[in-house]
């Protein structure tokens, strides 16, 4: 699975660390790291939580052309 650089960029734009975003969506920092690295495919529930925390849509962060 490819790296998800869009989450990383959106997180950086909001000046959030992985740990802060992880706490915001209720997962561990390691899980957030795995999602950004493309090692873990999150559930739709977690995707929505990440989108809400970063003020983005599912298309912005997760849609692959």
């Amino acid at each position: 699975m490819a790296k998800n650089l869009r989450i990383k960029a959106a997180r950086a734009a909001k000046d959030m660390t992985q740990k802060e975003l992880a706490e915001c969506v209720g997962v561990t920092r390691q899980t957030m790291n795995a999602i950004e690295k493309g090692d873990y495919n999150p559930s739709i529930r977690l995707c929505i939580a990440i989108c809400k925390a970063l003020d983005k849509t599912l298309n912005d962060l997760f849609w692959e052309e």
């Binding site: 706490e23 209720g26 997962v27 561990t28 390691q30 899980t31 795995a34 873990y40 999150p42 559930s43 977690l46």
Partner: protein, 136 residues
Amino acid sequence: MEQFDERQKAIRNKIMTKAFALAIILLCGAIILNECKVIEIGKTVSFTDYGFITFFILILYVTLSLIWKDAYVGIVNAASIKIALYGFSVLSILDIDLFIKHRMEQAPIDYVVLAGTITMIAITISLWLKKKDWDN
């Protein structure tokens, strides 16, 4: 937050399933080795010893997998894992000390003790290497 998040739960489920399969393989392996007369369970190794060695292999597999895939309790409960780390460290040192003493007395190698010592040392080293994850 729940104790484990969705990724950790998925990993834990997968590891437990694999451990169950490994237990069956080890037990079938014992039957095959016994039938092929490679080891004679009951003579070369007792049933209890083989059971304990199987148990230690499973503990080792499950614990190391959980630690290295960040799905162990240390990620969510730093206090309890710190106690476990120091406890395991002390037990490892005692185990090594006892093993060396036995070897110096030229006592025969006890495979159960050896398996226990290896398990303890491997878990301790893994926890020390992962310490930075729950230190901050």
